[in-house]
């Protein structure tokens, strides 16, 4: 019964941690993309002839910004759906105790 409590605790904290991982990174990326797109539109409005060059650089920057969000989404999803190493530790200790 005690073991169930521990497992539930680890699972719930993992869920909160993974959700924080994904959402904080998403907030940062959203703000970044907003600023990036806004500036791009501004500069295209000012100098429309530069728009192909700026478009390419904007996509480069978009990929750079995107990376952190993608990495945190990957880690978060792995914690939820894959093998959870934190939970594995609890199970290992419990297995030792039980014998």
């Amino acid at each position: 019964m005690e073991l169930t409590q521990y497992v539930a605790q680890v699972q719930s904290f993992t869920a909160i941690g993974a959700a924080l991982l994904i959402c904080v990174a998403a907030i940062g990326t959203a703000i970044g993309f907003g600023i990036l797109g806004g500036k791009f539109l501004e500069s295209v409005a000012r100098q429309p002839e530069l728009s192909p060059m700026l478009m390419m650089r904007m996509f480069l920057m978009a990929g750079l910004i995107d990376a952190f969000a993608a990495i945190s989404v990957a880690v978060g999803l792995l914690l939820i759906f894959g093998k959870n190493p934190l939970l594995l530790e609890v199970v290992n200790v419990a297995a030792q105790k039980i014998g």
Partner: protein, 266 residues
């Protein structure tokens, strides 16, 4: 995996995250851990795709004609011109290595990423009938491959730093910038962090994007079959953008880092 066709949810996801591994101590194929492990699926897919790319481009180059270019030749020329244009814009010195390296990285990573758009069960299921338990055919969502790529670029950066600037020139740049001569330990630490972050961010960026994409495709595959096409379709269209941008960024950053190694910025 006893029952491939009717696993539970957790089993299904875990099954798609396992590599076809070869243990180099015992020469047995099967899930192992430790350093002396080869991920056979990554190796096979990446080498096959690399060979395909080289042989295709080589055959086009052999049969090149000015009067009557084939459609394939036009296509290959388009890619090569695109890459060489980018290299000319960013890199101002002379180098026989950078443009071919950029082309190889771009096409190779792009094709490996594109395999992500195949249905997640297509290849593993056919291979399962031949007795192969786990097979991940998207090579770029294995961190080993992305780190191999970025560490190769890292070695080239170090090599060209030494070759172009010389031992003393590089030493001067590492120790005396950006804070001047009296803070040289701080300068050195800053420079080391800057250099070490390059391969890390290069490989983790590609790995993170591809892994997240693949994992979401796996999760979509768990939905009932009549709803899959809506979410799957949207994510596929978005993913086409992601895979081309990631291949482009990997190439672009390689060119930028190597040109930074060629010219002293201070």
């Amino acid at each position: 995996m006893s029952d491939f066709l009717h696993p539970t949810e957790g089993e299904y996801i875990q099954h798609h995250l396992d590599h076809l591994q070869l243990n180099l101590h015992t020469w047995k194929i099967g899930p192992t851990t430790g350093f002396w492990t080869l991920n056979l699926d990554t190796l096979i897919v990446s080498i096959l795709v690399g060979l395909l790319f080289f042989l295709l481009f080589r055959s086009v180059a052999k049969k090149v004609s000015i009067d009557a270019p084939s459609k394939l030749q036009n296509f290959v020329e388009m890619i090569i011109e695109f890459v060489s244009q980018l290299v000319k814009e960013v890199f101002h010195g002379k180098s026989k290595l950078i443009a071919p390296l950029a082309l190889t990285i771009f096409v190779w990573v792009f094709v490996l990423n594109t395999l992500d758009l195949l249905p997640v069960d297509l290849i593993p299921k056919y291979l399962w009938y031949f007795g192969v338990d786990d097979f991940r055919f998207v090579a770029t969502d294995d961190p080993n491959l992305t780190f191999a790529l970025s560490l190769t670029v890292f070695c080239l950066i170090i090599f060209y730093n030494f070759k172009v600037k010389g031992f003393f020139g590089l030493g001067k740049e590492v120790f005396f910038h950006p804070f001047g001569i009296w803070l040289f330990p701080l300068n050195f630490i800053f420079r080391m962090i800057e250099e070490c972050v390059k391969p890390l961010s290069l490989s983790l960026r590609l790995f993170g994007n591809m892994f997240a994409g693949e994992l979401i495709f796996i999760l979509i595959a768990l939905l009932p079959w009549w709803i899959q096409w809506t979410v799957g379709g949207i994510w596929s269209v978005f993913h086409i953008l992601v895979i081309s941008i990631q291949a482009f960024i990997f190439m672009m950053l390689t060119i930028i880092y190597l040109s930074m190694a060629h010219e002293s910025s201070h």
